[in-house]
């Protein structure tokens, strides 16, 4: 194979071996596989975006503030309800004692 002319011929024919090359065609149902992949990457993107938002310090501070405010509101509401229930229960007892004349009388009466 050390014949220079033969080598040059071989090189030329190798360089021309792709002349008239046809376009390679992709396997059938490529679009179906692509759409499945698109759905998968859309879900992954949604998860990534969600994680990107929720792991931000601003989000953590906001969530904590919201939690604290909700707790304060809940405690206040519970206190108001407790006071209202106590007031109404006192009024009922007083009314009952007045109706049946159960009030404690003093020694002067």
């Amino acid at each position: 194979m050390h014949n220079e002319k033969a080598i040059q011929q071989k090189i030329e024919s190798t360089l021309h071996s792709i002349d008239g090359i046809q376009r390679a065609e992709i396997r059938p149902f490529f679009s179906t596989r692509l759409i499945a992949q698109l759905d998968k990457s859309a879900k992954a993107n949604w998860l990534q975006q969600w994680l990107a938002i929720t792991t931000k310090p601003v989000f953590a501070v906001l969530a904590l503030s919201f939690f604290v405010v909700m707790n304060i509101v809940a405690i206040n509401t519970a206190n108001h309800k407790k006071q209202a229930v106590q007031a109404s229960s006192n009024a009922t007892i007083q009314g009952f004692s007045e109706e049946y004349n159960l009030s404690v009388s003093t020694i002067y009466q």
Binding site: H2, K10, I18, A24, F30
Partner: protein
């Protein structure tokens, strides 16, 4: 379909327009990726990635270049990235072997037979593709687009974002380097 209309429909997120785009350009994208990465499964994966990127970034496409030019650019970038990643992995595996952490024998990639080559030229084209793989990126891209994809010098220049004179220079150097490689190969037989 009119290209401008297709772009408008794509930008308004119409599923049928995206299907039309895939149907029209899937073989072009696949064939380009295949000529660069020289592995059928990898080329298909790259084609998928190209269309996923198109789907995600079509809103930013200004229509200054043709759709095919834009698709060629994305395909080439992704294919070259894949090749770089593969080379890095190969180098890492070699270092691992040196330190004895991996005793597996590393095999060289098998010959690549392009499905679009006539059977009588298969052997020689496999040798040529091996040599193409050794070219510098610019020379490789210019050669693949011109010789395999059949693009004109102007079209290659548009895809590569260079002048026609640069494309001519890349092709000239590519042929010179291929000749050198082939000479070394045939002399070693």
């Amino acid at each position: 379909m009119n290209e401008q209309l297709l772009i408008q429909q794509l930008q308004h997120n119409m599923g049928t327009a995206f299907n039309q785009l895939v149907e029209a350009y899937q073989h072009m994208v696949y064939n380009t990726a295949l000529s660069i990465v020289q592995q059928q499964q990898e080329a298909e994966d790259i084609a998928q990635e190209v269309f996923i990127q198109v789907h995600q970034s079509i809103k930013h496409f200004k229509g200054e270049a043709k759709i095919s030019t834009w698709l060629y650019r994305i395909t080439i970038t992704k294919s070259l990235d894949w090749q770089r990643h593969k080379k890095r992995k190969k180098r890492f595996a070699f270092i691992e072997n040196l330190f004895g952490s991996n005793n597996e024998v590393q095999h060289e990639a098998s010959d690549f037979f392009h499905p679009g080559i006539a059977s009588e030229n298969k052997e020689q084209s496999a040798i040529l593709f091996k040599a193409i793989n050794e070219l510098a990126d610019n020379q490789k891209i210019a050669f693949v687009l011109n010789k395999v994809e059949g693009l004109s010098y102007q079209e290659v220049a548009d895809v590569m974002n260079v002048t026609v004179a640069s494309v001519e220079a890349y092709l000239h150097r590519a042929k010179q380097n291929l000749r050198k490689q082939l000479e070394t190969y045939y002399k070693s037989l």
